[in-house]
Symmetry: C2
């Protein structure tokens, strides 16, 4: 990964890069809120018990210890805490704790850092930002939300300075039903093997399945299923043509069809059924999603998720949901590394007010005050150096305008890109709208 | 602290509370950017070495350990990492690492969580959000930035739904010069003792000073100095009237005077010189700041900082700066606990589009699509329950408008607060501007 970092796995950005990241986060937030998702933040920390509930990822957890407790007996310490490694575990815990104060179905977005104690040599991020949306019901959750989620995500991603995305979808009911239909009992293993198709190829998958006791006939049928894909009704017929049929498959295909139909209307060619999409995790029960960025397939899925019948449960109540998670840092890192987008300047400042000499700095402060009152980001020059030097100060930061107060008290503003300099009144002058704030444009 | 939390010291908010917090963070960001501060984020993690450079707070550090490294010999592990306990240490490290790619003076704001391994019984936050602004020079930094910083902060805080603030200022040069003038050598101890004035009173401070070998005469003079305060020139005369005089005192008083003068113009009565403001930390070298919230003095300073001649140094270069830090979580916690501000609704949604029956859900989706295209946050009702139930769904969330499509295809929108229902076209209807997004208003 090309991110600037002095500590392996912990990327940081320069100011102009941060403006790109910020504009992406702002844009995601705007789209999520447009669709009625409420913002939520959870603490960075969970009990180790909570983090280990879903065994698999527990190895990557960073645990915390108070420095002064170090070296003390474990039993003298408080119960162990760790940093969250995703936003799903904390959200599930939050929903259970606050169910009485939430209204269901509850729609939330959550944009936060997560941490994983990955091995540094893997070149993976150990700290990165995720942007999640989930819709969670109390007891039940209608299927149409499984259609809604990928459409929101496509809208959100289409507003970012990145190439088009394709959301690859599958439905667990189809895979589950198919496995049942051909007599495969270990559906989880089937899913885990199919999930490796892109990595180890059909022969690798076949070998692994045989190792786990799958019959050759079963392996062949599963690979046939996994080879199917398409963005319209035809793919459903292809599945049916495999000749395995039961209620669960029918239900899954009907759902897949409804999703493709809605997508064809709102986001043509952006959603594709791909029967090999398995998602390793076993808690998905309906539609599952992965998202490929055109021309950047090497990134893997930039946005994944699915339907789960029980996000959280306390024995009495169960909360089904559907959600998806964007790996923002990986995306931003790629955008910056390949100049897919660049900020128009490295500071928010639109106008630098020049200072003639330190005795009249107050006049410059007054101009800045007037401009800011009208919402124009303004700085006053830090020193009363020669005007040429003050203009260079602006130029180095990409600040488009420098404001001058003449010895006669006349005010002029210079567009330092064109060199145009015109008389101006601090109480009325406005920059063109596109210069007011830094903008983020596609790179060259 | 009244924050909702299931883990002592780690506050979390409900959706409507989060809207209040978010509006405060948005407002701070807006003001900081209006003044040309660039956004920065640093990783949450620093090396323990970096965190312990300023010895004093090291006890409160949370250190990290990868779960799989647990129990292994210390020498087999990577160098120890900890969570940052403020935003100054990471910023100093960032400036040193990136100096070649930054332009100075560098103005940045940074709004992030910080963590402190406080003892839980103290009722303090272990995770909280800080909002910092700093201006950092390369080698030198002009004094006028020490005037600028508190004015930015007063502007930022005055836009929040909180009572007025008073920034209490002092100047280290005055205290240092005064100590030198009366023969006190251990200036740091003098500062540490004076810092406790509000906690242990003048007699406690005097006792402590005597313990550290201060002469009674010195104690008396220092307490006289510490008793002075005022928001105009008179306080400077009061200091001079104490009869201790040298260049350093003169310089400090001149700076204090310049700050009071500028504040009298831009923020009358909001800045007050208070000679007892010491700030425990020994790296301040000029103006220091604390900020009191009217009627909430029990919170202590909600925003503190000062001038430091060396934020960071690598031996060759030194980076002087001036900065201030708002304790956002403590402020938000108080705002929420005392209903100083409330959100107009718990979701971003402005319109709920009702669904007559599941077969016609697509018509409702179409309306939502049109409204969102024009920037109106919209949800579609999750179920085609009776209209009364759908209206209650909106009501419980504070969604102001419900959109109906009649069996005849006629569209109507109802303001569920007034009950008014009018014909409407999804391509042109606009809500009143104040209903478009949730607003945050002072509580009752």
């Amino acid at each position: 990964m090309p991110a600037r970092t002095s500590l392996s796995g912990f990327p940081e950005w320069l100011p102009a890069e941060r403006i790109v990241e910020q504009s992406i986060l702002d844009q995601l937030r705007e789209t999520f809120e447009l669709h009625g998702f409420a913002s939520l933040e959870t603490r960075a920390v969970e009990t180790l018990e909570e983090l280990q509930r879903k065994g698999e990822t527990s190895k990557e957890v960073y645990i915390l210890e108070r420095l002064q407790d170090r070296g003390q007996d474990h039993d003298k310490k408080e119960r162990p805490l760790g940093l969250h490694f995703d936003l799903t575990v904390p959200f599930a815990r939050y929903v259970l704790e606050n169910a009485g104060n939430l209204t269901f179905p509850f729609r939330r977005y959550q944009i936060q850092k997560v941490w994983r104690g990955e091995r540094p040599q893997d070149g993976r991020f150990r700290e990165f930002t995720q942007a999640d949306i989930d819709i969670v019901g109390n007891g039940t959750l209608a299927f149409h939300h499984e259609v809604e989620i990928p459409l929101v995500i496509i809208e959100a991603l289409s507003k970012l300075p990145i190439p088009p995305v394709t959301v690859l979808v599958n439905n667990r009911k189809v895979v589950q039903g198919f496995c049942e239909g051909i007599g495969v009992e270990d559906v989880e293993q089937a899913l885990r093997s199919i999930d490796k198709l892109d990595k180890i190829g059909p022969e690798g998958v076949a070998a692994e399945m045989r190792e786990f006791g799958f019959a050759q006939e079963q392996v062949d049928r599963l690979l046939e299923l996994a080879s199917l894909s398409g963005d319209d009704e035809k793919v459903l017929d292809d599945v049916r043509a495999l000749g395995v049929s039961n209620e669960l498959i029918d239900e899954g295909l009907e759902e897949l069809g409804a999703l493709l139909k809605a997508a064809a209307k709102r986001a043509p060619h952006r959603v594709r059924a791909d029967l090999k999409i398995a998602r390793g995790l076993d808690y998905y029960t309906g539609t599952v999603y992965e998202t490929m960025l055109e021309g950047h397939e090497d990134l893997g899925s930039i946005c994944s998720g699915g339907r789960y019948d029980s996000l959280a449960s306390d024995g009495k109540r169960s909360f089904p949901g559907v959600g998806i998670s964007i790996g923002v840092s990986r995306l931003v890192s790629r955008i910056l590394a390949e100049d897919l987008a660049v900020a128009s300047r490295s500071v928010p400042t639109c106008v630098l007010v020049a200072v003639m000499n330190e005795d009249t700095r107050e006049l410059s402060d007054d101009v800045a005050f007037e401009l800011r009152t009208r919402g124009i980001p303004t700085e006053v020059a830090p020193s009363s150096a020669k005007f040429g030097k003050q203009i260079r100060h602006a130029d180095r930061r990409g600040i488009p305008y420098v404001w001058f107060i003449g010895e006669d008290g006349a005010h002029e503003v210079k567009d330092i890109r064109s060199g145009d300099q015109v008389p101006a009144d601090p109480k009325t002058w406005e920059p063109p709208a596109e210069d007011l704030f830094p903008t983020v444009k596609p790179g060259e």
